[in-house]
Structures are given as structure tokens and as C-alpha cells.
Symmetry: C2
Subunit: 241 residues, 2 copies
């Protein structure tokens, strides 16, 4: 209790997904007034080298700009840091080492939520960047839980996921939603009884089109927001008791 609670958000990937995450933080926190809400400092600076291109070997690494964000958030007094971008967790180790404040992990938060879900289907689809899919975090986590992952095909990635994701980034979330819905439906057609929306642009896009009938979805941004909020609520309770 030496340092006051202050959640640092390393955002900008993309900026709209960061705002969506900040909204989810508030939605996850019961509060009777402004003062009970979770205190946040957000670094929503999107001038970061493209993560998908970097991981495909087609562009510079975003690590220097990510480290700058981590430093600024620590300087601002962050007691914990969350990164509302799945793909950026590729650099999680380097960022954790550079940070005084502990970094939460979006995949861990999501898998924990999946593990405690009342009903778990046998097959779960993963909608994510190629970088996140290549890392294998979600596939390994599902396999540990005895769940079979259902993945996008190369054609689906090229025709639906990638353009859908970049549509959100250029401020056309509904356009992205139409493409990402087709991606979601394709995974369901191949047997997925639930979906992990493992790129923070995806829930933004699906929400923009009113997300018609999908099976159970797990939103890593919500799982991460809930974990952050639980830390704040525990701190608040301890501080006021």
C-alpha cells in the first residue's frame, strides 16, 4: 500500500481499441460516484510501428516506441500496467523487464476466464492476427483445457481478417465488422461453439454492426479490464477499511 493504485494503459494499438478498453474498465467497476471509479493514466499514442508488419518481417520493430510508453507510464506513477492489444504481447517479456510497475497479461486473463466459464464447448475459434496465431498462446491454453482450437485459413486471413482489422484502424469499424463477421461465421461453420476475439479491434468492429447472432464470445479486452478492476476494488476496499 506504499504506492497509490493507478492503472497505466499502454494503448494506441489501435487508438479506438484503447478507448473501447477504457470504457470496459469503467463497465467492469461498480461505483456509486466518480471517486469510486478506477484511476487510469492512458498513453494512447498510436505513432508505433505496425506490429503485424514487424512480425511478418515487413517493417521495423515497435519495441522502441512501446518502451517509451512503458517509461512514460512508470514516470506518471502507474502502479500496474495493462496493454489492450493481443499482438503487442509478443514484446511482453522485454516490456516487463523495463517496467517498475507489474504488467498484466491479456492472454492469462482470458484463459483464466475461459477456465472458470460455466459452459465450455469442445471447439473454440480464435480470431487474431497472424502474429498472435503464430505465437500459439491461445492454442496452447485451449489445448491445456482439453479444448480443440479452430483457426482461420490463410485465405480467410487475407480476405476477411486483415482488411477487417485495418478498416477499424482507418476509422471504418462497421466496414471492418462486416468482414470480421464473415470470419466469425466461417469458424462457427467449421465447428467452433465459442469464439475468442483475440485482437482488440474485433469486438469494436462487431459492436459497430450490432453483432448479429454469434455463439458465446470471449473478449480478452473484457477479461483484462475485469482483472484490472478487481485489483482496484481490492485496493479501494483495503484503503477504506
Amino acid at each position: 500500500m506504499s504506492q497509490p493504485f493507478l492503472l497505466g494503459v499502454l494503448g494506441g494499438m489501435g487508438p479506438l481499441a484503447t478507448v473501447d478498453f477504457m470504457y470496459k474498465l469503467l463497465a467492469a467497476t461498480p461505483a456509486a460516484d466518480d471517486q469510486q471509479q478506477i484511476p487510469v493514466v492512458a498513453w494512447n499514442v498510436p505513432q508505433i510501428a505496425d506490429r503485424q508488419k514487424a512480425l511478418a518481417g515487413l517493417g521495423p520493430s515497435p519495441l522502441p516506441q512501446l518502451l517509451q510508453g512503458i517509461h512514460r507510464l512508470n514516470e506518471a506513477g502507474a502502479s500496474h500496467i495493462a496493454i489492450p492489444c493481443n499482438t503487442a504481447h509478443h514484446w511482453y517479456g522485454a516490456l516487463r523487464e523495463a517496467s517498475t510497475a507489474p504488467l498484466l497479461h491479456i492472454v492469462e486473463a482470458t484463459l483464466e476466464k475461459l477456465q472458470t466459464a460455466p459452459a465450455r464447448p469442445e471447439h473454440v475459434g480464435i480470431i487474431a492476427t497472424q502474429g498472435t496465431l503464430d505465437a500459439g498462446w491461445f492454442q496452447q491454453g485451449l489445448t491445456r483445457l482439453g479444448i480443440t482450437p479452430v483457426l482461420p485459413t490463410a485465405d480467410e486471413m487475407q480476405n476477411w481478417f486483415v482488411p477487417g482489422c485495418y478498416a477499424v484502424k482507418r476509422g471504418a469499424p462497421a466496414e471492418g465488422g462486416a468482414l470480421l463477421l464473415r470470419q466469425a461465421q466461417a469458424l462457427c461453420a467449421r465447428g467452433a461453439g465459442a469464439l475468442i476475439l483475440a485482437c482488440t479491434e474485433v469486438p469494436v468492429a462487431l459492436q459497430a454492426i450490432g453483432a448479429p447472432a454469434l455463439p458465446q464470445t470471449f473478449d480478452p479486452a473484457v477479461a483484462l479490464a475485469e482483472r484490472c478492476s478487481q485489483l482496484w476494488q481490492a485496493y479501494r476496499q483495503a484503503a477504506f477499511s
Copy 2:
């Protein structure tokens, strides 16, 4: 061009209105990708003494916490600072003096937008806190433009505005929306042909209920976001030309 552009947002008043403002910043900025979006550092720390109570003489001043936010944003490298809370502009002078980065003014941005609106009705209603109404900023601005302000009555403030505003602050924006809609309709019934939603909780609340038929509305949060975005777009153009 010595300092890179970075918008500091002094938020938390309330936290949901700040997230709404951050969304409006993105909506105001044409961008082809993440990297063209406006870079923002947001201090969304709502542990600030209640502004309405302070101005009514019923609670401590929020100035120390506001100054702390201003200092943190300057330390984080903010080149400009915006405050998405009308009432907090009561302390604008003290905050401006304490800040290296220039502070934009939400009332100025709104009045400028009103001045250049294609159609201006003769009577414009103001939905705002008692503190903002007592300051007279919007009334004076309207009068200068030859427009007659239409104000809430004491009963309306007590029954609709105040509980509507605090409903948003405790995470019940739809409940707030129902009350604030009645406030809006009362002003229209007394002749207002347009409304200034001069408390940043109000547009959040009205949006939560799908805001049924209202006349032209001026949203100071949008006006401020547009002004911030124009500064960023001018900087971006100069930096890349």
C-alpha cells in the same frame, strides 16, 4: 515544431465523459491508419473533489487534484491540454498559469462553433451545472451573438439535471438520459430552438437512451475535440510536408 504534438487530457470529471471525449477526438480526425490518429495522454483519475459541491460551498476545492493532473500531463510531454468538463473551467485561470502546455478552452471552442453554424435559432437552451450557469460563460457568449439563452428553473435542476448528471457518474447513463431528456424537452417547450449540452455527462446520457427527437444540439465536447484535432492535423501536415 520544437516539441512533438501530444494532447494531454485532464479527465476524470467524470471518467465516462472522458472516455466519450477520447472517442470524439478519434471521430473528429480523418486517418488512413493508426499512425495518423491523434496522439493522446489521458489523466483519467476521478479521485477529485466534487466540483458542483465545491462551487456550492458544500465541499473542498478540487484545485489541488486538478493541479496534480496538470503537472503530470506536462511531465508526460503534453504540448496542449484539454479539459472535457465544463464546470472545471471555473479553475481555468489557475490551471493555465500552472501549465507550460497551453490549455484549450471548452466554452471558446463551443461559441466559435455556434458562431459559424449555418442556422442559429433566436433562443438557445443551456443544460449545465449550477456552477457553469452561475459563471455565465455561455449566457454571455449567446447574448454577444444576439441569441436569447433559455435556462433551467431551480425545480428542473433539482428534479432532473442534478440526479441525471449523478446517475451517469454512478454508471447508470440510461437512467440519467431519461431525466436529462425531460430537462431538454422543458427548455424546448419554453422556446429553445437549439440546446447546448454544456455538461459533458449530458451527451453520454442522451446517447445511452438513443436520444429521441431533439432540436439542433451543440456538444461542447465535440467542439473541443474538433479544435484539438485541427491542431493535430495542422501539425501532422507541417511535419510531413
